[in-house]
Symmetry: none
Subunit: 194 residues, 4 copies
Amino acid sequence: MPDSAHSEAPARRVRADAQRNVDQLLEAAKAVFAVSGVDAPVREIAAQAGVGVGTLYRHFPQRSDLITAVFKNEVDATAAEAAGLVSGREPLEALVAWLMRFTGFIATKQGLAAALHSGDAAYESLPGYFESRFGPVLTSLLEGAEQAGEIRAGDVEPIDLLRAVANLSLSGDEDHTRRMVRLIIDGLRFSAER
Amino acid sequence: MPDSAHSEAPARRVRADAQRNVDQLLEAAKAVFAVSGVDAPVREIAAQAGVGVGTLYRHFPQRSDLITAVFKNEVDATAAEAAGLVSGREPLEALVAWLMRFTGFIATKQGLAAALHSGDAAYESLPGYFESRFGPVLTSLLEGAEQAGEIRAGDVEPIDLLRAVANLSLSGDEDHTRRMVRLIIDGLRFSAER
Amino acid sequence: MPDSAHSEAPARRVRADAQRNVDQLLEAAKAVFAVSGVDAPVREIAAQAGVGVGTLYRHFPQRSDLITAVFKNEVDATAAEAAGLVSGREPLEALVAWLMRFTGFIATKQGLAAALHSGDAAYESLPGYFESRFGPVLTSLLEGAEQAGEIRAGDVEPIDLLRAVANLSLSGDEDHTRRMVRLIIDGLRFSAER
Amino acid sequence: MPDSAHSEAPARRVRADAQRNVDQLLEAAKAVFAVSGVDAPVREIAAQAGVGVGTLYRHFPQRSDLITAVFKNEVDATAAEAAGLVSGREPLEALVAWLMRFTGFIATKQGLAAALHSGDAAYESLPGYFESRFGPVLTSLLEGAEQAGEIRAGDVEPIDLLRAVANLSLSGDEDHTRRMVRLIIDGLRFSAER
DNA sequence: GATGAATGAGGCTTCATTCAT
DNA sequence: AATGAATGAAGCCTCATTCAT
């Protein structure tokens, strides 16, 4: 919902430039974080975005502002893909597919875990945001699998499962991650058999 | 196996302080790494060990030397505890107990994963060391559980399981880790039922 | 030949302070090198220039960048003074006058010889620059003296003479240097007499 | 004239070891100075001598003690070679031969000039020592050449000539040094012709 | 006496952040 | 608003020198 919704006031102009800079910074930060981690030098991000460091600081006074913005951006994008991944798949496979998509998101967050554990108040909202966006998606996928008789959804909290998959994806080895995700899913199937 | 194993050789003396300093450095480094990660300032480690930075550099010219020494030290200690944890426990519980002990080891390795992925040749030997020490222990535990009919050991490579548990323990939340480890073990039990 | 030679191009602005800092750094470095040699602490140079060390590193990322810049700066200045020194002097005296001016340049290069001999590729261009600027000047002076029948110019390579005078000036005793320069000139006159 | 001239007192024993260490240190220092200059790391010298740094400091508490000892040692050796170089040579050639031998001595003193100019009182005695040993030798060689009618010895102070040749030899290019020494000698011959 | 381990000052360099243009 | 130059704190590392063994 952009501020420019009301065109009657002269409002701020030049918003185009500024917004483009923000977008470029977010994109650059995402790319740099994936390669060099969230502690990457500020100048590297600014350079990749094609702006001066001053511009970066104007839009993101704290490093944490940039990190959280990138993070939320990607959380939104990942959550939005859920529907597409699910359609046409068996419930259990849909669950695995989405979890694997989710690991791709995490794998670009080198150093984020450390930031989250740093105790910096700026990151306090992230887990909640994370859960608010992914929780419903995952809950729905788990319920689908449960209704298909594949698992017993009550055996795991969605957020627990997300954390686990997030941590597993830190290995950076996608094949390994996939195997371990399936093993966890098997764990859910195990209890369903009892 | 220290040189002093054979007391008949004159060997170097003075080793007393030097060895004590090395020990203090390893202990301090372990503690600091757990809190501040493996990129913690050199001075912090030296100060905690009660020595000057020069002493640290004498014994560990590269940061990687200190990291690998601490790592191997703890790998050894963790592996050595396997027997005690196993005795008197049912096979499956022994497996879980040891894996949880193992997570305690990993939880103090903040930043080590990044170092391992850095491509620095100094760390190349660590995965092998890790596997050589833990592989046999875990294989033995898995076989015990298999012979008890609890799991099907062939469904997972010991090293895969170690990596998974290591990554899970990065959450820093021991309860969560324990739940997820049990979920993975359930995954192994699932296939055993088929 | 600065970019700003053509005022029609927009070019970068802000250049004013930056250029002033560069100039101050070069001047400070020249002074500090003369007193403490080219290995003087970076901070000393930055302080004398009235800037932070970061500014020094921005403009001269390597110490060798600063050394070569100072060097070339002074080579240019010294070469440019040739005309003024020559006019109104007898050829031989003009030669001596210029060589003595040249010694003043060298006397501020404490430690440069060692740097040149260090094998660092950054200094490879200096001897060539040196020769390209001073060679023609000295050749012209030698030819003037030869045409006046004072010396036989073919008896010495200009670059040999420059090196010799440069080394002689390292004594730091101007009077001694002057006597020895004259002695060398006498050496050139000797052969002219035969 | 060794202290052990009087064998009646028990005197200090172990002198052999200590003296050997001193000799090894002097030799090592000479070699290291030639390669790395007189500011070379203390440990490099101790290592090359095969002793601990403590031993170096015992015998040479100050770096200047070691430098001056090496220097005097070599001054003595160089002066002692004068007779051999002179015999069987024409006076002028004898002079050149000795000067060139002298340049070989200087060429191994990278950084000594800087030390001498440092104002450190420890080096104050060196020029005097230098002159007291070399002055007579050179005076004698100059007089020989003068008596042969080749030069006019009064035109240059022996010490001036030594300084000049010392500085010329800093180029490290022996051929160049030789040419310039000959040019200086020609300078002396020039005045003899008048 | 000899050794070499320990110390820590001192020099180097990077980079987050500010601020003049 | 944007830029990027300047700043300087902070971390790294290397020795000269001392001193326990």
